[in-house]
């Protein structure tokens, strides 16, 4: 087993591409180290990306933010601008594990681990976050929704790694929220997770919506029918009822130690309406705040 700590993302990609055995990127390490300890994976090469400047910084870009892949969740959640612009995405990341885990875990590690229950992903999907991937053939931008395929499986090819994620600028009256269901108050993996992002016009009519749904299929889903149920409405009770139905209908869950099919399907709808209400409140609050970050 080798450990490398390159200084540039290109060098990291070259190391990953050049390894004949199993290579793993080490960002926060909160998944990788547990997998190694349990004997689930035995990498031949570990590439620590925490010494790469472009991967450890949060940069403002076109009114949005670019977040490096090795930025821990605790650091993101201390960033006032990010928390004001995309509070739902931030709360998704903030729900991963304990305070201790927050000090290490990264949102992009959460994404690339490809767990269907990854807390930060439904919010990013709802936000239509764009991941920048670097590999042997250079850079490419890909919507976050297109990265996970199945548990532990992504669309990244050999030698590729995600360098950063971009969260775009938002209009004045916009808000997002993420809610998950867990049996305790903390420390569990999501049984269902729903991220909702809304944009409203001056009359409070929803003009744009995206709903991301986690832990109910082999990967995080984008629920277009739930978004359609919101667009053109004032996010009233009738619309929310449709959102619940559409979200529940999109579920393709399994029975496992964390929840039943029946439970997940029902609670997905409940959480979608609750998250939509919070997103609505945030959009209105932000608008009355003059769209300030």
């Amino acid at each position: 087993m080798r450990y490398e700590s390159p200084q540039t993302v290109e060098a990291a990609a070259a190391l990953l591409a050049g390894e004949e055995g199993l290579a793993r990127v080490l960002a926060g390490g909160t998944d990788l180290l547990v997998q190694m300890r349990s004997g689930m994976v035995e990498p031949d090469l570990i590439v620590d990306v925490k010494n790469i400047p472009s991967m450890t910084s949060i940069v403002e870009e076109n009114g949005g933010y670019r977040i490096g892949a090795a930025v821990p969740s605790a650091e993101m959640n201390e960033h006032k601008g990010l928390c004001a612009l995309w509070p739902g995405v931030m709360e998704g990341a903030d729900l991963i594990g304990s305070t201790q885990v927050q000090g290490r875990a990264t949102m992009i590690g959460n994404l690339c681990n490809c767990g269907p229950a990854a807390d930060s992903v439904p919010g990013m999907v709802a936000a239509n976050a764009i991941a920048t991937i670097v590999g042997p053939n250079g850079r490419r931008d890909v919507p976050v929704i297109d990265i996970p395929v199945a548990p532990g499986k992504s669309t990244l090819t050999k030698g590729e790694l995600v360098e950063s994620v971009f969260l775009p600028a938002r209009p004045k009256r916009a808000g997002d929220a993420y809610l998950r269901f867990i049996p305790r108050t903390e420390m569990d993996i999501a049984v269902v997770g729903v991220g909702v992002s809304l944009e409203l016009d001056g009359d409070g009519v929803c003009t744009h919506a995206r709903v991301g749904l986690g832990a109910v299929a082999i990967k995080v889903l984008l629920v277009e029918d739930a978004a359609k149920a919101l667009i053109g409405t004032k996010v009233d009770d009738a619309a929310l009822e449709k959102v619940a139905a559409a979200t529940s209908a999109a579920c393709k869950p399994i029975d496992d130690k964390r929840g039943t099919i029946e439970f997940r399907t029902k609670v997905a709808g409940v959480l979608a309406t609750r998250a939509a209400k919070i997103a609505l409140e945030r959009a209105n609050a932000r608008a009355s705040n003059g769209g300030e970050k």
Binding site: G29, S98, T99, E186
Partner: protein, 158 residues
Amino acid sequence: MSGIHVSTKINGDAVEYVCDVEETLLDVLRDKLGMTGSKEGCASGDCGACSVTVDGRLTCSCLMLGAEAQGREIGTIEGIAKGTELHPVQQKILDNAALQCGVCTPGFVVAAKALLEKKPDPTETEVRYWLAGNLCRCTGYDKIIRAVMDAAAEMRGN
């Protein structure tokens, strides 16, 4: 398996060691450096008994490779009391009988100290959520939470 040479700082002291890639910082602290105050309760980041700070940020030493400590500043339970003078969190844990078996106590001390440095006047709910990653099976948390709130008050000068 070739060793990795690491230069780091632990509780303010320069420390060098050679570790294997798969060794965690917790393994290094306990097995290589004889610093057994950090405990292994789960090795998966679920119990917080191995809590340390890395460049001032609270983390689980079981979730970090020993190799990653290169150039960082690590703080452990062994560095919290200054000689015989306990940190207020330690003293209040003693005063409140906020421990029974005591195996989780070092992790709670490290985590609570990190909280109070960031947030000197936390609510009970904030203390509970901050410490949600520190499992205690003996106390039901009641006395621990009281101890942290007492320590916060004392540190604020109340």
